[in-house]
């Protein structure tokens, strides 16, 4: 049983790390500010969620697992609020999203 928990937590930790790296890569390579926000939220949700779940499996039923759960809830509640404030501030200050021009071939259905 202990081996299974170790394997699952190892898989969660490594995949969480990989998703964080993918989120960081998206943050660099995305063309526009608003698409970068999507990439950054990949790190916030999947990366953080998988890594914290992997750590909780390692910690077992202790106070440490409760603290890890608190970190997970913290990210769950504050990350959307921060992203919303970011988008609102950018839109209010007139940062236009990168849209396809009308009539260009790629915009036809």
């Amino acid at each position: 049983m202990n081996l299974v928990v170790d394997i699952v937590s190892w898989a969660c930790l490594v995949s969480g790390g990989i998703f964080c790296a993918i989120g960081g890569l998206g943050l660099v390579r995305m063309p526009d500010f608003y698409t970068r926000m999507h990439a950054a939220s990949v790190t916030d949700t999947l990366g953080a969620g998988l890594i914290l779940f992997g750590l909780i499996l390692q910690a077992g039923l202790t106070l440490i697992a409760v603290k890890l759960l608190i970190i997970g809830l913290l990210i769950l509640f504050t990350s959307p609020a921060a992203t919303h404030a970011l988008a609102k501030a950018a839109l209010t200050r007139g940062l236009k999203p990168l849209l396809v021009e009308e009539g260009s071939p790629s915009s036809k259905p």
């Binding site: 790296a21 989120g23 440490i64 890890l68 990210i75």
Partner: protein, 95 residues
């Protein structure tokens, strides 16, 4: 196991810092700062497990809280030009 996760987090941290450096608009930098905060929180937790010191999780919680409050305050300054005086109700805009 933890070193693999920590290495991936360091890679993500480097990418976020490059976006913070390259970011044309100031909001890219604010976004990168927010991402660096989240990654630092995860890195604290993983290193806490790596070195077997559970106090790091409390640091991660406090760091996460400060990071969000800091991001929201910086964004309010970017958006309205000032953080407003105590008591004005409309965030510095005309009534």
């Amino acid at each position: 196991m933890f070193t693999a996760a920590a290495a991936a987090l360091l890679a993500a941290l480097a990418l976020a810092l490059t976006r913070a450096f390259l970011g044309p608009t100031v909001f890219d930098r604010a976004q990168a700062a927010n991402t660096v905060g989240t990654i630092a929180m995860l890195l604290l937790a993983v290193i806490g497990f790596l070195t077997g010191r559970p106090e790091f999780l409390d640091l991660a919680i406090v760091y996460g809280l400060l990071n969000v409050v800091g991001t929201i305050a910086v964004l309010k300054y970017f958006e309205y030009g000032d953080l407003g005086e105590p008591g004005d109700s409309n965030n510095g805009r005309a009534q």
